[in-house]
């Protein structure tokens, strides 16, 4: 069934590669015709609704980029069906291209020897963008991504951060309904990262642009994405709201407390305490399967007056590290 609300619908797709067997020495490699089949993506299904902000996560080589390539119509799945706005992106590649915008963080789409404005103008012609839309999107981009300062330099003279801002503009000029960002913030400084995040959220807010983002920067994911799809070894391991994921995997938290007077010993069930400054500062590693952070704070406040309080939830990064290493529970 093709659902109209789902901008992306993937049903049991696989993508395999034939790889020549490279064991067994030189002569065998030269003359051998033996191949083995490697799955980049194996029987995955998920859907994305209009306007959703999705983080596509997974360790390197887990099939994220392959999935994005299939959704952009660059490659076709070896089995299964996928639809982007109801169309097969590979069969209707050109039609699909109007609906999507793609940023590959590690490859440039800009004309190397020319200023960015020339590439934008060319894209205006290719996508047949109306003057009004073009102007509007350029103004929005200039405001959020600070393009004025780099407008007249050829792309080859731009820094990575400057170029990446331009790459994103190049991908959204034609108002795509669906935006793929494959590691858009790789190697960028925090200011540029922040600008890019703000801009993506603005697009989502103003145009209801659906965004599918891959990144190894968890701050990107936490700031932008509402939904997480985690692929591992070519399969969908997790598909849920980001808060659900945190709840599911958030086993521990750290509670830091400053007390008005020194306390030498505090024992709380399910929380391992450590004191500093002679007992005036305590931090507890809270095991959430036994107790809660609130309970810990309450118990401590019964013993002494709490002056400062900090609760550090387990970071996304730790959660994912745990899942990548130990698999899904």
């Amino acid at each position: 069934m093709i659902s109209v609300e789902n901008i992306v619908q993937i049903e049991n797709i696989s993508r395999e590669y034939k790889v020549a067997k490279r064991d067994g020495g030189f002569a065998k490699f030269i003359f051998s015709r033996e191949h083995e089949i490697v799955y980049a993506v194996r029987n995955i299904s998920f859907s994305v609704a209009k306007g959703e902000l999705v983080g596509l996560l997974g360790p390197n080589g887990s099939g994220k980029s392959t999935t994005i390539k299939m959704l952009s119509g660059i490659i076709t799945p070896s089995a299964g069906k996928l639809y982007v706005m109801g169309n097969d992106p590979f069969k209707r590649r050109k039609h699909n291209a109007y609906n999507i915008g793609v940023v590959f963080g590690q490859r440039s789409q800009l004309w190397w020897d020319l200023p960015i404005g020339d590439t934008f103008y060319l894209l205006k012609k290719i996508y047949k963008i109306s003057d009004e839309t073009y102007k509007q999107n350029l103004n929005l981009s200039k405001k959020y991504l600070d393009l004025e300062s780099i407008w007249n330099q050829p792309v080859r003279q731009l820094s990575l951060g400057q170029r990446m801002r331009a790459e994103i503009v190049a991908a959204i000029l034609h108002n795509p309904k669906l935006l793929f960002l494959d590691e858009p913030t790789i190697g960028l400084d925090i200011v540029v990262k922040h600008q890019i995040r703000e801009f993506i959220l603005k697009l989502n807010n103003d145009y209801k642009t659906t965004v599918i983002l891959t990144s190894h920067d968890m701050k990107d994911i936490e700031d932008i994405c509402k939904k997480i799809i985690l692929v591992d070894k070519g399969r969908v391991a997790i598909d849920c709201h980001i808060d659900e994921l945190k709840q599911m995997y958030n086993k521990t938290a750290v509670v830091k407390l400053s007390l008005s007077s020194a306390v030498s010993n505090i024992a709380i069930l399910g929380a391992r305490g450590m004191s500093e400054l002679g007992g005036r500062q305590w931090s507890f590693l809270v095991d959430k399967s036994v107790t809660t952070t609130g309970r810990v704070v309450f118990e401590v406040s019964q013993i002494a007056e709490v002056t400062e309080l900090e609760i550090i939830e387990q970071a996304m990064e730790d959660i994912l590290h745990d899942i990548y290493k130990n698999g899904v529970r």
Binding site: K69, T76, K94, F104, R107, S108, D113, L114, L122, Y127
Partner: protein, 267 residues
């Protein structure tokens, strides 16, 4: 169609603007092209001065023969894309993915994105020599001959583009095709700089039925210069535009077949 021409204009303008970032390189490469092919044309003059004719082909005939090869090659390169050597790079670097997310045909984009402007140099030098040659032997060229020359420039350019696209497309299967392109296309094609009758039969068969480069210039010239004697020569001469078009279409087929197979190098 009109939209495509406008788009082509935009690409051309931006290509020129991009090249102008390196003005010295741009003009010196045009000059180098001019100079290099000027010498080649002169060689024909030297050879015919020293040895008379090459199995009945005089200086002007040889200039027109060579001119047709160079002209069609320059057009294929200047207006279009030298895909024989470049498609390999586009594939192995993954740049092809960038083209595939645009709402345009891939061939169209490849053609437009690599406009080789320095070929202007060889077009100018070819014009000088070919036009002079035609003027000098105008008494023996028929109206149909002139017409056939113009037709052959167009279809020959298609054949040359077809050869580039075909060899380039093999990159979809073999990833690296540069050496093959140089051997089969550039080296083998250098035989057609001379009338192929002077070569052994095996070479003539190779250039007619296996790698049909002789249809670029030799067979059309048999008609243009009224050199066709046998029935076979007439037929091959008159068939050359059709052969060129078919070869071009074949190359597009292979290209699309390869594209379908394209598995995209890792990211």
């Amino acid at each position: 169609m009109l939209g495509n021409i406008r788009l082509y204009g935009t690409f051309l303008k931006l290509s020129l603007k991009g090249r102008m970032e390196y003005k010295f390189s741009f003009f010196s490469s045009i000059l180098a092209n001019f100079y290099c092919y000027f010498i080649t044309y002169l060689t024909y003059w030297v050879i015919t001065q020293r040895f008379g004719t090459i199995s009945g082909w005089e200086y002007e005939d040889l200039v027109i023969l060579y001119g047709l090869n160079l002209f069609t090659y320059s057009i294929a390169c200047a207006l279009f894309f030298n895909s024989a050597l470049q498609l390999e790079r586009e594939i192995t670097t993954g740049r092809l993915d960038g083209y595939l997310v645009r709402p345009m045909g891939l061939i169209q984009q490849l053609l437009l994105s690599r406009i080789a402007l320095p070929a202007i140099g060889q077009i100018i030098v070819s014009l000088i020599f070919v036009v002079t040659a035609f003027i000098r032997i105008s008494w023996k060229i028929t109206v149909f001959g002139y017409f056939y020359f113009c037709l052959s420039v167009l279809t020959g350019a298609l054949l040359q583009s077809g050869a580039m696209i075909l060899i380039g497309s093999l990159s979809f299967w073999m990833l690296r095709t540069r050496d093959l392109a140089i051997t089969v296309y550039y080296d083998l094609r250098s035989f057609i700089n001379y009338p192929i009758v002077i070569f052994p039969l095996i070479i003539r068969i190779l250039l007619t039925y296996v790698f049909p480069w002789a249809f670029i210039n030799y067979y059309p010239c048999l008609i243009i210069l009224s050199k066709a004697k046998t029935q076979e020569e007439y037929i091959l001469g008159l068939l050359s535009p059709i052969v060129s078009i078919l070869f071009f279409l074949l190359s597009l087929c292979v290209f699309h077949h390869g594209l379908h197979r394209y598995s995209s190098s890792g990211s």
